[in-house]
Symmetry: C2
Subunit: 129 residues, 2 copies
């Protein structure tokens, strides 16, 4: 059994930050669960465009307020606590935080922890670094 505490991990190298964005990796590929699990915090008044071409991701809003726009359809959905979106089509999307968003994220295949967002908003496929 693995037991980890977000509040202890957030000051370790399992906490990854980018501009207006932080992700604490509660579970990564090497934990052997077949998915990774992250608590991601997006700063208030920030906007992020991602395109996980090689991963499925689900994102559940724990707290905060914002929206997500599906860039293929132009459709925008409001995000409030209890709302989940799942990128089952590897959807290219823009996420906006009006208030600080705290999100619980699952990735399949699991993120290894070494990925960076590439120019196109994607992570590299698993196994290619």
């Amino acid at each position: 059994m693995i037991v980890r505490d977000f509040y202890k991990l957030k000051d370790t190298d399992r906490s990854v930050s980018d501009k207006h964005w932080n992700s604490v990796r509660m579970l990564l590929a090497d934990d052997g669960m077949g998915f990774s699990f992250h608590i991601t915090t997006l700063a208030a008044n920030s906007e992020h465009t991602f395109h996980y071409k090689h991963h499925f991701e689900s994102v559940y809003c724990i707290s905060g307020k914002g929206s997500i726009t599906d860039l293929a359809t132009g459709e925008t959905h409001q995000i409030t606590p209890g709302v989940m979106y799942a990128l089952d089509q590897h959807d290219h999307h823009t996420l906006r935080a009006e208030e600080t968003l705290v999100m619980a994220c699952c990735f399949n295949p699991p993120v290894t922890g070494t990925e960076v967002h590439r120019e196109d908003g994607s992570y590299a496929p698993a196994g290619t670094g």
Copy 2:
């Protein structure tokens, strides 16, 4: 893109209850994500013994207070918001809610939605009903 709201699903057939326990299935196997994602609520002052022999499960505490005991080792871990446990060894365990626990749960393989807890606290393997 799939968008679902916990507060809308909790009065539908995606909400499954057992004694002192409710689980809202935000994502199931047929969503094609390769994992399922549930928001599970355990009533205050309840105790639950589970043994997912055929699934990996991670559980992140959103709110509440309780503990988990690993029945193989006898070790008990406190559960508070931000604590996650992952049953990477299909660990037989007892979960106790002192206050109402709200947990974000990921299962691999994904739960289909038709499983029931069996006598031994497990769900049947995927594909066997």
